[in-house]
Symmetry: C2
Subunit: 333 residues, 2 copies
């Protein structure tokens, strides 16, 4: 039994989701790439907001969603990310702390507003994200508290952190401290276009020993190895020497190691409403499982369960206690 | 065919809903009256917010919810209410205008912040509201534009408007202008405790000819006539000479006139998630139906359909096009 005071520390962009249902025609008219995350500036943010329908506002951000999922399972989670001291920043802090996620990065007192992502959800449940990074651009290595990193058994990082200029250095600092303390480091590839922007650096992180665990969906994996052929991508992944979790929506997930590739089915879903957060919650279940010393299949089942909960409603944060759900399914003590 | 440029003008408190799931124990611990709306001051608002779990933020306010429901049915809606020029105030305006509700009351540039209601939703789907009125206290008769009132075939008012000091005068001004223009006036009783605070005034409004239509749920009706016996309350109501719509949750609704009482069943619901807005959306369907010259039963069926949509998800604003739903059910042209 590891003696960490934090099971999972997530580091990521602190983003409030502003979610509207829309139709395919709106995506075409606004020329957004369906299913992807695109970065937008303030002018574009104002234009999109004025054009989109009534919204639901829920805290989000990939890494933070994972931290909340871990806490909802009853494991100990912490988050490092940057908000401004504005209304949305206070909302963001409340929503983390009130579910038990430790979050003590000071809010920025100047500079851009708390980040928001305008998320367009089509009738098929697919989400398309338009993110204004705002205050996330002020996350720096100074925000990465070494004590917190040392205390965390798993440090989980977003590929999206490569987008704001200073966050990459924060990321590298966390990796170094975590490994010196003997803790494991996980990365999610975040988005196929994000992979496209930073492919060589992400491959470098796997190959220079920075990463122990990799999370990717099948689209991100294809982008990583620049192939449309899944067998080719998976064969390349197997050689990287990390524990890799590849999610494939309704087709379930694969856990890929040098030794073997094992498949876990998706959890049955009554009604797919909004896929936002599916990957984040899968990672939450997997990492929480690891922190309780479950085997990879048990971890992936927990991940599938958590992902299934979050795609059945609007927003990327669980609406039910994941610990309760997992106990009902016999997946959790 | 009436030639109004607005089908329904709603006047009410402009409130952003801050919604959290909770359990019965939390309600008991915080000493809140389950199912009711209680007014809170800023200190209590801060205490409750700190104590409650992660939230979903969605524009609300009883009258505004009704206006949005009318717009979602494809009829012409307008709203009069007061926000501050802060982040939540901008959100509020966006969410009205983006679904087609006309809203041109200027935001307050000073004074208290945009109103918020901390809504606690228990596992049975019941909602308990704790409302900080904030900027609503600055709604005055000057905000009631006579042209807008004259242009509206139905003017719909909240009983909750009796709470902020000046809004009552705004309310009376609207009634006078509407009747001078030959338009109809509707009131919702809002909440049993609200009825308790203003019983004599609400009865007076019915009896002095201020009201043409009354909306109430059965609890509010019992409070109005201070009786636990529904037959007694309904008999008293019949004598008032208004068209009265009495909603009774899963037991459906009654349309009560001096001449007759007719029952309409509730619409079947797959899963009750959050009752917030049920009454508001019932009123939306009923008034939109009246504006299209449907008979009372047709209007009540539309109301039941709209209410059923809104109680199957978090938040008091429809997530699907009510016009589309109503057409699928053959209730709407």
């Amino acid at each position: 039994m590891h003696n960490a005071s934090i099971d999972v520390l997530a580091i990521g962009n602190a983003i409030v989701d502003v979610i509207a249902r829309t139709d395919e025609a709106f995506l075409a008219r606004e020329n957004v790439h369906k299913g992807a995350m695109q970065l937008i500036d303030e002018a574009r943010a104002e234009h999109l907001y004025a054009a989109m329908g009534p919204t639901t506002v829920i805290s989000g951000g990939s890494g933070a969603n994972t931290a909340v999922g871990v806490a909802s399972l009853g494991a100990k989670a912490a988050f490092i990310g940057k908000v401004r001291d504005d209304e949305l920043g206070r909302l963001y802090g409340h929503d983390l702390r009130s579910i038990g996620v430790r979050f003590d990065v000071p809010s920025a007192t100047e500079g851009p507003a708390t980040a928001r992502s305008f998320i367009l959800v089509t009738p098929d449940g697919e989400r398309t994200m338009n993110t204004y990074l705002g205050a996330c651009q002020n996350l720096t290595p100074e925000d990465v508290d070494p004590h917190t990193v040392r205390a965390a058994r798993y440090v989980y990082l977003e590929g999206y952190l490569w987008d704001p200029p200073e966050a990459k250095r924060a990321f590298r600092k966390a990796v170094t401290i975590a490994h010196e303390a003997g803790n494991a480091v996980a990365l999610t590839l975040s988005d196929p276009f994000c992979v496209d922007r930073y492919r060589d650096e992400f491959l470098g992180l796997m190959r220079d020993g920075s990463l122990d665990i990799l999370f990717a969906n099948i689209h991100e994996l294809r982008s990583l190895y620049q192939t449309g052929d899944d067998a080719t991508a998976l064969a390349a992944l197997r050689q990287e020497g990390v524990v890799a979790v590849v999610t494939r929506s309704a087709e379930g997930a694969l856990v890929v190691t040098r030794e073997e590739t094992r498949a876990v089915p998706a959890f049955p879903v009554e009604r797919l409403v909004d896929t936002t957060g599916a990957g984040d919650l899968f990672a939450a279940g997997f990492l929480a499982g690891l922190s309780r010393d479950l085997d990879h299949i048990g971890c992936a089942r927990l991940g599938a369960l958590a992902a299934a909960e979050v795609i059945q409603h609007i927003g990327a944060r669980p609406q039910r206690s994941l610990a309760e759900l997992a106990r009902q399914e016999g997946l959790w003590p």
